[in-house]
């Protein structure tokens, strides 16, 4: 059992949880994830590790309730516990000295981006962070990211905070200005957003790294359910990723495979009590 020490709500349905997991806290590097299995009969949910404190033996996870099992996780209060957490899994981010980089986060992806942006800044990169969301309440971690970013730029679909529009509009402005054009872009968020970023940077030849979150079971390369097409090769996101070259990822296939269980998910959702159903966000994948 893994004890939940803290559970805060950052945005509607977005939780930051601090969990006691000493082995994982000690081994974890930025970019890696865990698999959380909240209860005996639950699903195994892959979640990127937001932060870790090896001394305290804790990890921080950012979670959005998108289905029955993620709902079970976020409704576990401080003092409660989660049955299983396995990790750290996947390859750590390759932190290089790029010079100027842009880190682009959409929705919950901003939380996944946070440890990566921090590590890039610590390695001496000049980090410009772009955060996107539906509206002001969904813009998370702006202050935390500002602590090490040269600039934090915000885009909301309804214009309630920052520039109205998408993160790609903001990124395009950066690229078009030779004084701000990044040498590398890190984009983490909903698949359509990552695809749009990759398409934007492709003609400029700017290296673009994305972090993929396909359907997964064991997270150790055993089942192959998380396979993604990268260039001509089939890769397992759990062991070969989760980060890949955005210009090589087949995003269409990724989106298609993410829809594999849509009918089952809808059925499970329909069976949930209404008050719980309202807590779940429909995420655009």
């Amino acid at each position: 059992m893994f004890k939940v020490l803290q559970n805060d709500t950052l945005a509607p349905n977005v939780h930051r949880m601090v969990i006691h997991a000493p082995r994982i806290a000690k081994a974890r590097k930025p970019g890696q994830f865990v698999i959380v299995h909240p209860e005996a009969d639950g699903e195994r949910i892959p979640l990127t590790i937001g932060d870790a404190d090896p001394q305290a033996g804790t990890i921080t996870l950012f979670i959005q309730a998108v289905g029955a099992s993620t709902l079970k996780i976020v409704t576990t209060p401080a003092g409660g516990s989660l049955r299983d957490i396995a990790g750290p899994l996947g390859k750590p981010t390759e932190i290089e000295k790029w010079g100027r980089v842009a880190c682009v986060g959409g929705g919950l992806g901003t939380a996944v981006l946070y440890p990566l942006a921090k590590a890039l800044a610590e390695a001496g990169n000049e980090v410009t962070t772009i955060i996107g969301g539906r509206a002001k309440p969904y813009i998370i971690l702006a202050d935390e990211l500002a602590a090490f970013s040269t600039d934090v730029l915000v885009a909301t679909e309804d214009g309630s905070l920052g520039q109205q529009g998408f993160v790609t509009n903001v990124l395009k402005d950066l690229i078009d200005n030779p004084d701000t054009r990044p040498n590398a872009v890190f984009a983490i968020g909903p698949v359509p957003m990552m695809r749009a970023v990759a398409e934007l940077t492709r003609p400029y030849g700017i290296k673009t790294i994305v972090s993929l979150n396909p359907i997964m079971i064991d997270g150790t390369g055993m089942c192959g359910g998380c396979r993604v097409k990268v260039g001509d090769e089939t890769k397992f996101a759990c062991v070969d990723g989760p980060e890949f070259d955005g210009h090589l990822v087949d995003f269409g296939l990724l989106m298609d495979r993410l829809s594999m269980y849509r009918d089952t998910e809808a059925k499970i959702m329909a069976e949930l009590p209404e008050e719980l159903r309202d807590k779940i966000i429909k995420v655009k994948r």
């Binding site: 699903e43 289905g67 299983d84 064991d218 150790t220 390369g221 359910g225 396979r227 089939t234």
Partner: protein, 470 residues
């Protein structure tokens, strides 16, 4: 009951038939197919053993169970004694009695088999093991030797690791089992379906090890959560039995369509994650027409599972003929009874998809047998131009597994062969002092009992290593 039967009387007894769930009924549930012998049937079957002097069955058993001895006790109706003998030799008899390929091991060499059918050793093992599980109070209390103060880490709680744990705990060593998944048993839990090996059997066998003082820590992915080096610093010896957890992909067009599974994923969803139960949230595609590619036990497990998930047609597609199939005879026989179709001498060429990315068919190549290959089996050769299409909505790839590199990738000094399997000597010792390995990580995809045999022989080697270490 008469105790001293003459050989002639023993020869006159016919081999028992295992009571089975009716095929039509069992394809609608996940309950065990084999129902187990009654005590009367078991004793009668035990009396078929001639108690021969040569005892070839013992050498035929990878864990060297003293088969004639436990059978002799059973024949006399002395169940506690039969159980004592069996449990002393085999850590997981209720598992072996269900999943071992006896027809190529103990029963193949049974003297009784030279004339007629061999003694049903597997059925008897299962009967005695089940009796022992049901009557723990009638078993002699196990007395553990004094603690040696030595600590051994076991990586993987599958058949090799569980066997190792039992053997070492009984020698007084401290044992910690590390399991990557959230529950114990390895392939016994995620791979072998409920209808062949009920999970309560695995639970009970694991509980028995815990009663011996074996510590179990789940959710530890060695190579990720901790490295082999860290384990070597913390423990006096390490045994690696983490299995062959990496599916071999088909590498054909259409493999990433929705509805295509590796057998590992398909079976894990159903077995470990209980996707077959309506009250569990794990989803699985309930195919109406399912093709399973391969001819081993895993393929049989997957295809019979698909039937139980409601498929109208469940089809094995195998590139050789039935004679070359690696699956146990009983599995093939049970599959046929359940209406599984076998399309032999056929290899997949392409998985066909519809406009929405779902599987709609499997394009196959007709094959014929050519010259024998390195394995001694006749090599399948394509018959030019002869292809056909199967209309299916789920395809399961059960062609095999390879060594999972997670652990070995973080242990650069550990010697591997060209396929990524760990190299060991005949006692399971690797090139690193105090590090031993066994089961599928050494052999590639093999069987439960061979993994257990590795666990047992490596336990002897570890015990003597620990004694020398004093």
């Amino acid at each position: 009951m008469k105790k001293n039967l003459t050989p002639k009387e023993r020869m006159a007894i016919e081999r028992v038939k295992m009571p089975e769930q009716d095929p039509q009924r069992r394809i609608g549930n996940f309950e065990e197919v084999n129902q187990g012998l009654t005590e009367e049937q078991a004793i009668r079957e035990a009396q078929r053993c001639l108690l021969c002097k040569s005892r070839p069955c013992i050498a035929g058993c990878p864990v060297r169970v003293r088969i004639p001895d436990f059978i002799a006790a059973l024949a006399e109706g002395n169940l506690p004694e039969a159980a004592r003998i069996l449990l002393a030799d085999n850590t997981l008899p209720a598992v072996c009695g269900r999943v071992c390929p006896q027809e190529t091991q103990c029963e193949q060499v049974c003297v009784r088999g030279a004339k007629g059918a061999p003694v049903a050793v597997g059925y008897l093992e299962r009967f005695v093991a089940d009796w022992a599980l049901a009557h723990p109070d009638k078993l002699p209390k196990e007395e553990l030797p004094e603690s040696t103060g030595k600590k051994v880490a076991i990586v993987g709680s599958g058949p090799a690791g569980l066997t190792m744990a039992g053997e070492l705990a009984r020698k007084g060593h401290g044992v910690t089992l590390f399991e990557a998944l959230h529950d114990t048993g390895g392939v016994l839990r995620y791979g072998i379906p409920e209808f062949r090996l009920p999970k309560r059997i695995v639970d009970t066998e694991v509980a028995r090890l815990q009663a011996l003082g074996v510590e179990i820590e789940c959710n530890v992915v060695v190579g990720k959560t901790v490295t082999l080096d860290e384990l070597r610093q913390e423990f006096d010896a390490v045994f690696i039995g983490n299995g062959a957890g990496l599916p071999v992909m088909l590498n054909i067009e259409g493999e990433n369509l929705k509805g295509v599974y590796s057998a590992n994923e398909y079976l894990t969803r159903v077995n470990l994650m209980a996707a077959w139960r309506n009250d569990h949230p794990t989803p699985i595609i309930h195919g109406k027409r399912v093709a399973v590619i391969g001819g081993g036990n895993t393929a049989m497990d997957a295809v019979r599972t698909s039937k139980r998930l409601g498929a109208d047609r469940s089809i094995i597609v195998y590139r050789r003929t039935e004679a070359e199939m690696p699956a146990r005879l009983e599995e093939v026989h049970h599959a046929k009874e359940e209406g599984i179709e076998f399309i032999l001498l056929a290899a997949p060429l392409e998985i066909l998809g519809d406009e929405n990315g779902w599987v709609k068919g499997l394009l196959c190549q007709r094959m014929q047998l050519g010259e024998p290959d390195a394995s001694g089996r006749r090599r399948p050769v394509a018959i030019e131009g002869e292809t056909f299409e199967l209309e299916v909505d789920v395809v399961v790839n059960a062609i095999g597994t390879r060594a999972n590199p997670l652990l070995t990738a973080t242990a650069p000094d550990l010697r591997l062969n060209k396929w990524g399997n760990i190299e060991t000597d005949e006692n399971g010792a690797t090139n690193l002092p105090g590090v031993f390995a066994g089961g599928d990580i050494v052999r590639g995809g093999a069987t439960v009992i061979l993994a257990m045999g590795d666990g047992k022989s490596a336990a002897v080697a570890i015990d003597s290593f620990l004694k020398q270490k004093n």
